[in-house]
Symmetry: C2
């Protein structure tokens, strides 16, 4: 595009994940990776071992006939071998496709077929799930090679051997010598992940070397994850969910110690693991973090959170009460906002210098916001009539984003014009306001907004307020059809074990106290039409509140 007889003299060096892997092996051989096995013991690898094993995986895949661009699916928990797949598959020129093990077998089968996965790496403990998935692969589609990672340390079973399944560690041990990285340019794909797809079929997002490298650099910045080689990261977020928010890539780049929880995501297990291998940073969804607080409250003398730990949460709204509960225990909880389509980090909360005068109380309120857009992420909110909304903290609109690690399409589907604007922005489906300081406040998913008498009510705001009540453990608010108002909010509440209930309804005292609390923040017409007590809020595969399921449970007023 240049005229006037000048061009940049900079090298045309492509961005590449292989460069991160080389850093891990050469600069950080003594860094550590800890994986929790199914029997709860810990297995430790150095980055040097990791590097060598990852190159072996790459060689082994090529020896198995992997071609450039071929998809290699993973059906794995968070552990070192999954991390080997993160880099070993792209090193061989393949595309890692993380299958979400929490989905229904038919859905996993559909996704693997849509992605055209050729090989599969699967945890031995997930073979029973795989058996259920295989019948749902599209006719004519099969995994050509199934490679079993003996996560449980058990010997290969006769049945697996008979089925022709390959053994992951045998494959690595017998791999030919590494003969170099597959040639690539920076836009070549490295990984794919399907959206959770609460409506319609899941859709595949395909990340490139470029997008992954850029996302890693942006994520590490002091005003985002603040990640350094001195950190120890505990990624509770599954590696099959938006690549565990991209943290594994960044840790490999920087030599950061990783502690993988394996399949043990129960609060007790996570607290035990934090005691054994104290992280400086732990990441997960707020709903799992809620269970940590419940466990700490239930047994106050059993655990403490690691000193100096910080935590990033995301994936759903974070109640102020949760932020306060962690702060009380010395852990700063910040939230990010994003989605599979945004790699996923789009905004992150941090304290702007110009607001340094705010007191703690004001910060607790502010910390419920989703934060500020990270570098390289363009963000705007667009109102119902298509106009870009002002940043006044009041005007709400759909969040739209654009940038080099935002998807501009989906894999192997007819282009969904509804998802993108004419000028090239992704329509996220989330509704938000932006205040004058640039902080994003997510009001709701478009489909979760409640339209009552022509006015919108934010289910998220109600949930967060209800969860601020000392006797409430969790709460989710959904819209039910209403003859007079169109829709009215129903609040589904999980009480703390210590609280009294009257089966599925609140005690009169509790109803009074909760209503009084809500009235300090909401107008009368915005209050829930009714409250029901439930044992648990159903959760999606990624641990978020699953409102579609709640709506199935309460099709009519209870």
């Amino acid at each position: 595009m240049s005229v006037s007889n000048i061009v940049s003299t900079m090298m045309a060096a492509p961005l590449s994940l292989n460069h991160f892997l080389e850093r891990a092996g050469k600069l950080f051989p003594n860094s550590e990776i800890v994986s929790r096995l199914p029997n709860k013991s810990l297995r430790q690898h150095s980055f040097k071992q990791y590097y060598e094993r990852t190159l072996q995986l790459s060689s082994a895949l090529k020896a198995l006939g992997l071609r450039k661009g071929d998809r290699v699916a993973t059906l794995c928990w968070n552990h070192h071998a999954h991390l080997e797949a993160y880099f070993g598959i792209p090193a061989a020129g393949g595309v890692m496709h993380t299958l979400n093990l929490r989905l229904a077998p038919e859905e996993i089968g559909w996704i693997a077929s849509n992605a055209d996965d050729r090989f599969l790496i699967v945890d031995d403990v997930l073979l029973p799930l795989l058996e259920k998935v295989l019948p749902f692969l599209n006719k004519g589609h099969q995994f050509e090679k199934i490679i079993v990672f003996r996560f449980s340390d058990a010997s290969p079973t006769t049945a697996n051997v008979a089925a022709g399944y390959l053994d992951y560690d045998h494959l690595l041990a017998s791999a030919p010598a590494f003969d170099g990285y597959a040639p690539h340019d920076e836009n070549d794909p490295v990984a794919m992940c399907y959206t959770s797809g609460t409506t319609g079929r899941p859709k595949g997002v395909v990340y490139s070397h470029r997008s992954t490298v850029l996302h890693s650099l942006v994520g590490c910045m002091p005003d985002a994850w603040k990640l350094s080689g001195s950190d120890t990261v505990l990624p509770v977020t599954p590696m099959f969910h938006a690549n565990s928010w991209g943290l594994p890539y960044a840790c490999i780049m920087l030599g950061t110690k990783l502690v993988f929880p394996g399949p043990h995501l129960h609060a007790h297990d996570l607290l035990d693991l934090m005691a054994l291998q104290p992280p400086t940073m732990a990441v997960g969804v707020p709903t799992i973090w809620l269970t940590l607080i419940q466990a700490l409250e239930a047994e106050p003398n059993r655990w403490t959170l690691p000193i100096g730990m910080r935590s990033l949460v995301g994936g759903s709204a974070t109640p102020e009460s949760l932020i306060r509960a962690f702060a009380k225990r010395g852990v700063e909880l910040s939230q990010g906002w994003g989605m599979t389509e945004t790699s996923p980090l789009a905004t992150v909360f941090y304290k702007k210098h110009e607001l340094r005068g705010l007191d703690d109380e004001a910060w607790f309120k502010r910390k419920t916001l989703a934060g500020l857009p990270v570098p390289l992420m363009e963000l705007r909110i667009v109102g119902e009539s298509g106009e870009v909304a002002p940043w006044d903290g009041v005007a709400v609109g759909e969040v739209q984003v654009r940038g080099p690690f935002v998807t501009g399409d989906y894999h192997n589907v007819t282009r969904d014009e509804e998802k993108f604007t004419a000028d090239g922005w992704l329509r996220t489906g989330d509704v938000a306001a932006i205040d004058s300081y640039g902080y994003l406040r997510i009001a709701d998913r478009t489909k979760d907004l409640i339209k009552s008498g022509g006015e919108w009510i934010s289910s998220v705001d109600l949930e967060n307020a209800i969860m601020g009540h000392p006797e409430v453990a969790e709460a989710a608010v959904i819209a039910l059809l209403h003859d007079k108002w169109g829709e009215r909010p129903l609040a589904c509440v999980v009480l703390k074990p210590s609280s009294k209930t009257l089966s599925t309804t609140l005690t009169p005292e509790m109803l009074v106290s909760l209503t009084a609390l809500l009235k300090t923040q909401f107008l009368s017409w915005q209050l829930p039409e009714a409250f029901v007590v439930v044992d648990a809020i159903p959760r999606t595969s990624t641990g978020k509140f699953w409102k579609a399921k709640l709506r199935e449970m309460f099709p009519d007023w209870p």
Copy 2:
């Protein structure tokens, strides 16, 4: 390059400096820029004002006829208007070319001609220099427009008006409305800078949107500058020298407060400025930092360094004594290594987690190392016979680098094949070893190594050791020809004001004490052949020791 029917779905969004500028205006309007004027008063701008002025500059340049790719030279100190040029020129599609005001007029003239600079922005206080430069422009070349920034706040002179010089602020005030950024792709050039050229003609390096954005992201990481929006940066490094190490770009991206020293780089002025506008981070060359310590020692009660300030130094070797002197005053001094050709950050010192057990003494020794390669920077050392040297801390070789913000060529010259290897690495001309932890130790510039009796002696190591003596302020070591040994080191020493001298020679006591100190670190044959006392070490335009000049002063043994 992809086969197997898959492409990345990521948006093709170009990396762009304009995005940083938009962030400054939209996300960080209340951040501040402070500039010190020639009369030493301070002028303050908000980022909002900065943003508006920069767009005005862009519009004004287009109205003056700027075409895509046209070079706009700057002959300016560090101040807000220079920062406006950093973004305003690329916004209009132009290329900012920073002229080094410390060079000889004939050299500046040659450089401006080689770059084919079309417009010039010049500080009013530098007009006398410009008058000396103009006669040295190549025949037929002239600056079509000369825009004078009234840095001194004086009115435009009649002479300037008569000469047709434009006034910077008038130009901005009368600029047409901003009608959008010039279309570009990410490899289009944004800035150029000429190497200091201690040998041969200076050579032009041309940075792109892409290289500048990537360098900014990498620089901000916690293991590099650790830059956040809450920092206050004092860039003493000139904006005409490798873009003040790229910090202005990063500060605009993050909303970081900038304090510009203007023309006042004397130690007293810098210490006064630090007291008035305390930075959290100050960057400069070690030789200027030496003068700060000398001033603090000379008047112990006049200044203190800002609490919590950190400092990055680079551009020449950093003596351990300097690191200790700052540490004593509460300031952590770290060094980076790089050059105009590397944007410039190539390596940076930080404490690797695996070395956390080292005691303070060990860290002071280690902090004289140049650090670890930053992400995206590939680095190797290559021995005399062309083999890649091992990372054992002993083997030395030439440092070679490769990456997306490393130059692969120079502007408007016949390609210098000597500067690049056949496999595409830049030959830096620096000689170094890398230890097993990956830390780079710069032994010398190739041309500054001393070859004595067939063995190499590092002038840098000797200098750093000599500067560790309590009576030495500064020292530079050069090679002089020697009948028997080929070359032998001559040490040129500047003593502290309190020290006794015998004109140009050391006192016998001092000679004994200095030799004893050196013998703890060097073998006898590595010691300087002679010591001379000088009033000052000559400095290059960028403040580094100018050894070529010293060699002119001492062509033979003194």
